[in-house]
Amino acid sequence: MSTVVDIRNLGVSFSTDAGAVKAVDDVSLSVERGEVLAIVGESGSGKTVTAKTILGLLPETATTSGAVVLSNRAGTGEHDVISLTGSQLRGIRGTDVAMVFQEPSTALNPVYTVGWQIMEGLRAHGQVSKADARKRAIEILGRVGIPDPEHRVDHYPHQFSGGQKQRIVIAMALVLEPGLIVADEPTTALDVTVQAEILDLLRRVRDEFGTAIVLITHNMGVVADLADRVAVMYQGRVVEEAPARELFADPKADYTKALLAAVPYVGHGVARAAERAAARPADWAEQPPVVEARGLEIEYPGRFGRAGFRAVDGVDLLIRPGEVLGLVGESGSGKTTIGRAIAGLTKVTGGSLQVLGHEMLGIRERQFRPTRSRIGFVFQDPASSFNPLLTIAECVAEPLVIHERAVDARDARPRVDELLEAVQLPASYGDRYPHELSGGQRQRASLARAIALEPELLIADEPTSALDVSVQARVLELFAELQREFGFASLFISHDLAVVDLLADRIAVLYHGRLVEEGTGAEVLGAPTDPYTQRLLASLPVPDPVAQADRREELRRLREEAGR
């Protein structure tokens, strides 16, 4: 084995509006041929910056120190990327090192065919005839698993699915057979089932092409699945570096330990749910449900007279008082649509939906408005759910003022302070503007606002998907606490089975707008009956390299079955 890239004492600073910011501080790392090095760490810890330095892709505002020594594929030459000029950099990009970006849909130029883009990389390095380049583009598309590559090579990016786009991005990285591929969160934008396929592809790349991979991610499951070695970054430094199995089995750094502890596991919630079920009164099941959907249909109107799009199709749901229903499903399966319908934000177009005794089919805003004080809503993105021009206290006071529990924000302040404390924010934070809080803090303020009127029903639409794992763990914990304390019923929407498992009494699985499975966490996660649920479960990588190896086997088996 030989070293493909050797990063020595790398330091990167940026000039920003707020002055200089140091993003990477004295980082040393190296990657061997055919090895997968995973860099993990929370958002902003310098993972992307480190990766981009390898390709010399930092913006002009960056200043770099240290050395990044990159070998070519044959192992015959070395360059210090940092000291290279523009045209020299161009020479190594693509041939010595290539990059796979996080968001496949933005990494492809929408106005050119994928073939054109692949060929462009080929032709940028040496004399390749058009026909040859095309042949190689088709070949590489085939090798990353795009069906019918001769035909698809002339398609535009938007004609591919998200997973296919990521395959194409990987194909582009592969086509010049670089010694190193830097993959920056290559699966974060994808559904778990698709993520599993991409991870498989990357594994094949390493095995078949012998390419070294720097894999950047914050998902410990992905690390466990693919990585040979792991570097943990924290605040611009590498705090720990170890082979994957070793790291998971025996984390050394405090931060690594905290990180691993914060990762939710499927199966952890079963006990808790059982506990809560046991604590319920006997006649609980007979109480009128808070939400009841029968054959619920929601259709988005089509534009220009075209047929509408049916996002939810014949869904039956039930949420009883004090119960948390977890709603999972892949992207676009209709989760948000259901949540919004319950909150009266989206019109119900068919079936029946009873919310707190109101039939939502054909209801008028005026009739429904008084009921709104009994419903809370937590949005996915804490940042955008606050009016940027109001202070946190003003935002939290809004429901109180609207429903005339207070005259104005000032009058509501004592109650607001209580609420902030309930979500464990110091009262003084009330005077801050939303952008002056961190993501986790904002999400907690958002919770405070949602429970201000002590609602009977709380709808939470992916309330933690914009947050880091560790922050997510905190917010989920808080949610559980508040739920215990206030006893509201809840619809908890997430695409992450493990998260839902943690909180939900029952879990509903949505697939293409239909409810495919519903039951307690133990039922759904322990013994899934629907093939989609099964695949979903198996696709979910667990943050444990040993267990993950088994699950991989299981998934392969499932796929084969489906294929037969």
Partner: protein
């Protein structure tokens, strides 16, 4: 007023959501709807102009107010029917329009259609030539400025662009004429062609009114040169104004696309910087640029009024100002209809071009 439904405009901020297909298979239908929208636009403009124009007086007063006494004027107005209720006159006009008849001008008694076909080509040519100038100057300079962003070259290009915009067309026109026509004597002062050339073009069987075409049809290279040399100054005066706007648009959008992931991705494949600019940043940036350029057509037509006046370029803008002055509503309305159609059609065409550039809309 508002219903519970707010969904159509909402887009949940889920980063992972695949981009909704822009228009899917309904593109043809979309174009059709866009096309049909032209009609209400025209209807509204005609209505607005009709009532506005009537509040400003009548053509008879405009023409004879300096000769006839009040009674005689009133008599003439009554004879022409201008004393009837506005709404009757309006409905009458609409009925006439509906049959495709634009009527005759009130002051010069010519079919409005004829006015349009006489003056339309001139405006078309002027706009066409100035667009050439605008594109030839604005787009490359915009690219250049984007490429050298925040350097001296960028600053110079941008200040130039602002100055082009800031100098009133009539002022610029005056200066251009003085320098190029009077001092240097390189170019003619004004007009669309010299007298002899125009006379020769009039002898053509069916003159098109497009002087460039007519000049070529005469087969006399001198006439072609004559016609083209007359177009230079007006095209520059109007073109530079537009070029300033184009430059700014191109620069902003190219800088924007240069910051996108796909440019970074192409860079990571070793694509040269100049190629990134030419191929990757430019073409996607063209989509918003072209859309905005479509909106500029109205601005261009407004600028054409002043350019046409300054350079004796007998086109629609100029003649419209004249007809406004003489309160010839019939002519004004006819021209407005044509302008509205032009603007609407341009925007329509622009959408088609944008669709051609952007495969996401095309399919």
């Amino acid at each position: 007023m508002s219903t519970v439904d707010t969904a159509p405009s909402s887009e949940a901020p889920a980063a992972a959501r695949p981009r909704p297909k822009a228009a899917g298979g309904g593109f043809g239908r979309y174009l059709l709807v866009r096309f049909l929208l032209i009609f209400p636009t025209i209807f509204i403009l005609v209505t607005v102009v009709f009532f506005l124009a009537r509040t400003t007086g009548d053509p008879i007063t405009a023409a004879q107010g300096g000769r006839l006494g009040p009674e005689a004027l009133a008599e003439l107005r009554a004879a022409a029917g201008y004393d009837r209720p506005l709404i009757v006159q309006y409905l009458e006009y609409l009925a006439q329009l509906a049959t495709g008849d634009f009527g005759r001008t009130l002051t010069t008694n010519r079919p409005v259609i004829e006015v349009l076909t006489t003056y339309g080509p001139a405006t078309f040519e002027l706009v066409f030539y100035s667009l050439i100038v605008a594109f030839a100057v604005g787009v490359p300079l915009g690219l250049y400025a984007a490429y050298h962003r925040d350097k001296a070259q960028d600053a110079i290009a941008r200040v130039l662009a602002i100055i082009w915009y800031a100098v009133p067309i009539f002022f610029a026109g005056l200066l251009l004429k003085l320098v190029f026509a009077v001092w240097l004597k390189w170019l003619p002062v004004a007009g669309r062609a010299s007298v002899s050339a125009e006379l020769q073009m009039q002898t053509l069987p069916n003159p098109t009114g497009f002087y460039t075409i007519d000049a070529i049809r005469t087969g006399d290279p001198e006439i072609v040169v004559d016609v083209l040399s007359h177009a230079v100054l007006p095209a520059i005066a109007l073109g530079l104004l537009t070029a300033g706007i184009f430059l700014r648009l191109v620069r902003t959008n190219v800088i924007g696309t240069l910051a996108t992931d796909y440019v970074d991705a192409a860079r990571s494949r070793g694509v040269a910087e100049s190629r990134l600019l030419r191929k990757h940043a430019y073409r996607p940036a063209l989509i918003p640029i072209i859309t905005v350029m479509g909106l500029q057509i109205a601005l261009l037509l407004a600028g054409a009024v002043l350019t046409e006046t300054t350079f004796e370029w007998k086109g629609l803008g100029f003649i419209l100002a004249e007809f406004l002055e003489s309160r010839d509503f019939a002519a004004v309305q006819g021209i407005v209809v044509l302008l509205a159609v032009i603007v609407a059609l341009t925007n329509f065409v622009v959408d088609v071009i944008a669709a051609f550039i952007d495969p996401r809309v095309r399919y």
